[in-house]
């Protein structure tokens, strides 16, 4: 709240004064080490299950992580501005319903409409947050419910079946043996990474999250930056929704529920701080893959349902812990 105090260190506790790191070189290594927990996880599962390490299963993991990865990239941008977007799952639902209802009239039109709905929802969030200065948590908690309601009302709660084959081929097909969702997720994460790293907007995002008042006093249009990240999060949610629809072959008004926690989880595992200014879309991709690999591995091991709750939670914590320990070592 108070811009006036100590700069917030990261949630992934940044090295306080006195930690062995200095300067950017080490920072980079440290950032990259997000992958440590992920790698460890892969190693453990590979040791436990022979199917796990097969190339086709690795591709499968990427496929299963791609939807979350895309949502997580949008979430990362929001979180970097010190915001939060709980409405992503509902945007997935609403935009995919709108898209699916139009896909008979042509893929391009349907996709454009779906993306427009996603961006529109995000803009609405952004305007309430930036212009009316309402708390992001409340705004998106509210619109999570509102957008879900619209998704339900749109077809009176009915799913839309019989999704166009062409559409499915684009959003859940393969190119040279690689599933398109994987390619899309990679592209999204890479573009977002480049944006954060090399564009003015990217730096504005970090600045707004790192010190909003400093950003404002430097002439950055803080409101616009905020609106922008929510719009991007909305648009990416729509894109994730398309992949969801293409994969399951139907658009469901309930589609996407629960995505918010998954996405925040991936972002934080990937190094984002909920206190703003820190985050890396590529890290979030790795975070999503970590979560996906975990689910995949536990299923391959046929861990019983109730124990999966325990294992899932434990693995998430351990992955972050492993990462933390290796960071400290260095």
């Amino acid at each position: 709240m108070t811009s006036d105090t100590a700069p917030r260190t990261t949630a992934v506790p940044a090295p306080p004064a006195g930690t062995g790191a200095a300067g950017r070189g080490l920072d980079r290594v440290r950032k990259a080490s997000v992958a440590v927990g992920c790698v460890l996880l892969f190693a453990v599962f590979a040791a436990l299950s022979s199917s796990f390490y097969q190339p086709s299963n690795l591709v499968e993991i990427l496929l299963q992580s791609s939807i979350n990865a895309i949502v997580a990239v949008g979430m990362t941008l929001v979180v970097m501005t010190k915001g939060i977007d709980l409405s992503v799952g509902s945007i997935v639902g609403l935009s995919s319903m709108v898209m699916a209802s139009l896909v008979g009239h042509g893929i391009v039109l349907a996709v454009a409409a779906g993306i427009a709905v996603g961006i529109g929802c995000g803009l609405f969030n952004g305007v309430l947050i930036a212009k009316l200065k309402l708390p992001d948590f409340i705004v998106t908690l509210g619109t999570m419910s509102v957008y879900r309601g619209f998704a339900l009302i749109y077809t009176n709660g009915q799913p839309i079946y019989g999704i166009d084959r062409g559409f499915r081929a684009v959003f859940a097909g393969e190119v040279a043996g690689v599933p398109t969702p994987v390619l899309i997720a990679l592209a999204v994460a890479l573009v977002a990474f480049l944006m954060v790293r090399f564009t003015a907007l990217g730096e504005h995002i970090v600045a707004v999250g790192g010190n909003e008042e400093a950003a404002r006093l430097s002439g950055i249009n803080v409101d616009r930056v905020k609106i922008c990240v929510y719009a991007m999060s909305g648009g990416l949610s729509a894109l994730a929704g398309f992949i969801l629809v293409a994969r399951i072959g139907a658009a469901e008004p309930i589609g996407g529920s629960g995505f918010e926690l998954q996405a925040i989880g991936a972002a934080v595992i990937g190094g984002a701080s909920l206190f703003g200014g820190e985050g890396n879309p590529l890290g979030s991709l790795v975070g999503a893959i970590t979560l996906g690999a975990m689910r995949n591995g536990l299923t391959l091991l046929n861990v019983p349902s109730f124990w999966q709750f325990v294992a899932t939670g434990a693995v998430v914590i351990l992955a972050v812990f492993a990462d933390q320990v290796t960071r400290r070592k260095r």
Binding site: Q64, L152, G157, Q158, I248, A250, E252, N302, F309
Partner: protein
């Protein structure tokens, strides 16, 4: 205003829904304007929409006004409890309930009893003390799925199960029925039983993973049709449609379509619309002082390619 207890006692344990008319006669038409309320688990699910549609349609026949309310999702116990309390405070003439769990609406039933407002619990969680329960035998559903797989593979093979949300009573019972009945067929081996959370994508992903570990799989039973459709997507992606038989539960329209297209092999159908219809009828019977038994056993059937034509879709729900 009614002179009798809405909570009759001392009758037979259960009665098959098809035998009700024979035993108690035609549904007594109401003598005044009635207002019912139905509090369900969720309406974001074709199954529950089906029940609601049945309620709506039957109530419409008798000019009964029904308020339909649903909890946020299939696991919010307290949200539904609060909802039902509020609805009850409006004193409807009858209260229809589809509880999240076997217990979470118990206090509502208790208060309704005190007000002599009949409570009809509709599939699949039961609540002790309610006027009556309209629903099918959930354990039998799981058994039927196992039987069906056995009929496909008398020689045995590896099968898997995709489970509904952990802790929900219907999932528990279907899992129980399926696993216990499988034990009768030692050659049918349950090699994996994994959570699907009632969610199509989760089921899809889980099935893909299971197929990887168990390439010889011949069948998958999913605790509901939404998940079964996801399971079929995974099977189709692996180009194993011929090898792996997918069996669901519910009998929603899309599943029937899938069955008739030769994709899913079967769905163990409940008849949600009929359950809705029945429950309105039971409410009317209770209001007319008929001593309705505590369990009205509603039908279930295995729908496969052979008989799918005999099960037309009922009208859809209007929010």
């Amino acid at each position: 205003a009614d002179s009798c207890a809405a909570y009759p006692t001392g009758t037979a344990e259960s009665i098959d829904s098809s035998a009700v008319e024979a035993k108690f006669g035609a549904v007594p038409a109401p003598k005044r304007d009635l207002r019912f309320a139905y509090v369900t688990k969720t309406l974001i699910n074709e199954f529950w929409q089906g029940v609601a549609a049945g309620v709506q349609s039957e109530a419409g026949k008798y000019n009964i006004k029904v308020d339909i309310q649903a909890a946020k999702d299939e696991s919010s116990l307290v949200d539904q409890l609060n909802l039902a309390q509020t609805v009850l405070s409006q004193k409807p003439d009858a209260l229809l309930l589809s509880p999240q769990s076997d217990t979470n609406l118990a206090p509502v039933v208790e208060s309704a009893k005190a007000l002599n407002i009949p409570t009809i619990v509709i599939d699949d969680a039961r609540t002790e003390g309610a006027s009556t329960y309209v629903g099918t035998d959930q354990v039998a559903i799981g058994s039927k799925a196992a039987d069906f797989l056995h009929s496909l593979y008398p020689g045995g093979g590896e099968v898997a199960q995709i489970e509904g949300q952990a802790g929900s009573p219907n999932a528990r019972k279907r899992i129980q029925g399926f696993t216990e009945t499988l034990k009768k067929y030692p050659d049918l081996k349950l090699v994996a039983s994994q959570p699907g959370d009632w969610d199509r994508l989760t089921a899809l992903n889980a099935t893909s993973n299971i197929l990887r570990q168990n390439p010889k799989l011949v069948g998958v039973y999913a605790n509901n049709d939404g998940m079964a459709l996801g399971v079929f997507e995974a099977v189709a992606n692996a180009k194993l449609e011929k090898q792996v038989a997918v069996v669901g539960t519910d009998g929603i329209s899309e599943a029937k379509k899938s069955v008739s297209n030769g994709e899913m092999r079967a769905t163990v159908a409940e008849f949600p619309f009929d359950e809705g219809v029945l429950s309105v009828q039971m409410a009317l019977r209770l209001l007319a002082c008929q001593p309705i038994p505590p369990w009205i056993v509603s039908p279930q059937a295995v729908i496969s390619a052979e008989n799918v034509g005999r099960f037309p879709n009922p009208p859809a729900f209007q929010n």
